[in-house]
Symmetry: C2
Amino acid sequence: MSLLAVGTVAFDALETPFGKAEKVIGGSATYITLAASYFAPKVNLVAVVGYDFTPEHVNTFRQHGIDVEGLQVRQDKKSFFWAGRYHNDMNTRDTLVTELNVLEDFDPVIPESYQDCQVLMLGNLTPSIQATVIHRLKNRPQLVVMDTMNLWISIAFEELKQVLGLVDVLSINDEEARQLTREYSLRLAARRLLEMGPKYVIIKKGEHGALLFSQDKVFFAPALPLEEVFDPTGAGDSFAGGFTGYLARTGDFSFENMKRAVIYGSAMASFCVEKFGPERIMGLSYSEIEERAAQFHELVRIV
Amino acid sequence: MSLLAVGTVAFDALETPFGKAEKVIGGSATYITLAASYFAPKVNLVAVVGYDFTPEHVNTFRQHGIDVEGLQVRQDKKSFFWAGRYHNDMNTRDTLVTELNVLEDFDPVIPESYQDCQVLMLGNLTPSIQATVIHRLKNRPQLVVMDTMNLWISIAFEELKQVLGLVDVLSINDEEARQLTREYSLRLAARRLLEMGPKYVIIKKGEHGALLFSQDKVFFAPALPLEEVFDPTGAGDSFAGGFTGYLARTGDFSFENMKRAVIYGSAMASFCVEKFGPERIMGLSYSEIEERAAQFHELVRIV
């Protein structure tokens, strides 16, 4: 099955207690497509970049077999730029700079060759752009997954609720789930979110793992206790890429198979944080990924 | 096998966002022995209380088949008293009152009939009292497990390190593990703790589950995503009681069996937080406990 990923492709400047990176490729769609490329037979990208995004940068995607026909390159503006600094605990960060640039008037165009995609992953973007993408697909994909962020919960709550009514799976972190539902208990928060439309809700808890909820079932995937977290940027998007990539590979959207997909998503996130930016999720081998996934199974296994 | 639990028996005044309890039985040894009583063939208690601790209070233990020969009742002092208030997130609390009373000069006396215990659970107490208990047992128990708290890390670090050298298993929460080792990564913290003596380290992460480490293995037990946490008091001690009780029941101290013990400990902790004080862990049926443990297995199960 083919996967269509829509989101941001950006440049990030990152600062963590372990060092600095001045300008690395980032953005939700970057992490999603790179992570998904190890699983999905075909990965299609819809995003926008500016004149500072060179053909060499585009090659990063091509080298992973990602279709870039839907990557718009604007010659009049710069790419989206984000700079952030992580605190010592690596769980909180300050945004230092946000330059929207090409994102200010992003109009997602879906190439004809992408129209047959079976899995759609809506990375973090304004809810109205996410809705536009769904409406521009002639046939609804078999599975629509979305991510979001605290900013849209604060400033575009109504639009966000409308998109929630259109998707099958919501992937969200614990703080966002609490903010969106005003429930502290994640179990109650998940119930509220399921009432808003999605059939499945994934609540990501960072270093504490992830929960997958359906109306009547719950599954918990641990996070690997890592010795070092180098840079958490993109972990959630790598999770989404591994999750949707695995589902596109298997074509099985049952709850049981989603559990496996959550493990692969968690494995991709665990790789992501080991180096700056998306470096670690470029050039992985599939056997490395299988080995990592096996560690997740081993971690909770009782014989 | 018989289990000997040493710790505090106290009165607690509790305040949570859900209500208040003026004076309930509390203390580490209370939660440990009550939780262990569902598993261990014999549970022996060593602790001290004051003249305000009535025969009716003592009956709480007797009704659970707990041997109270080692419970000293002082007629000249009041029982240890602690009052605390939980914040809205239920993860942080303020201590409002600490009255040591009988604890000021507690001298743990081990009755002759307790000398043959195979499993020793040292609940939270000053490290020097914990060491005294170990030295007063003529034969070393087959398994010695200890808990501790942030206060002793701050004011009795050297004594604490000495006790660590005498035990098999350390049960500690994540913040204490970080404080004790100055490592943020729990994996590195566990390694440092294992270097200090224990063969096994359990790091409790509250609503995020628990990790069991040996020199070369790691196991993760999730926490059940509960709809409501009513009162977290005693959760860690209930965990310790379920853990050591199960080990005393089975007599198998292998890493594989400790995994199962961690699940039973987690199950007891999940019951504990559902009501004020130890109310919920009194009067449970073993089938309720088995059902709860099965939920933990189900939560991470992939078929």
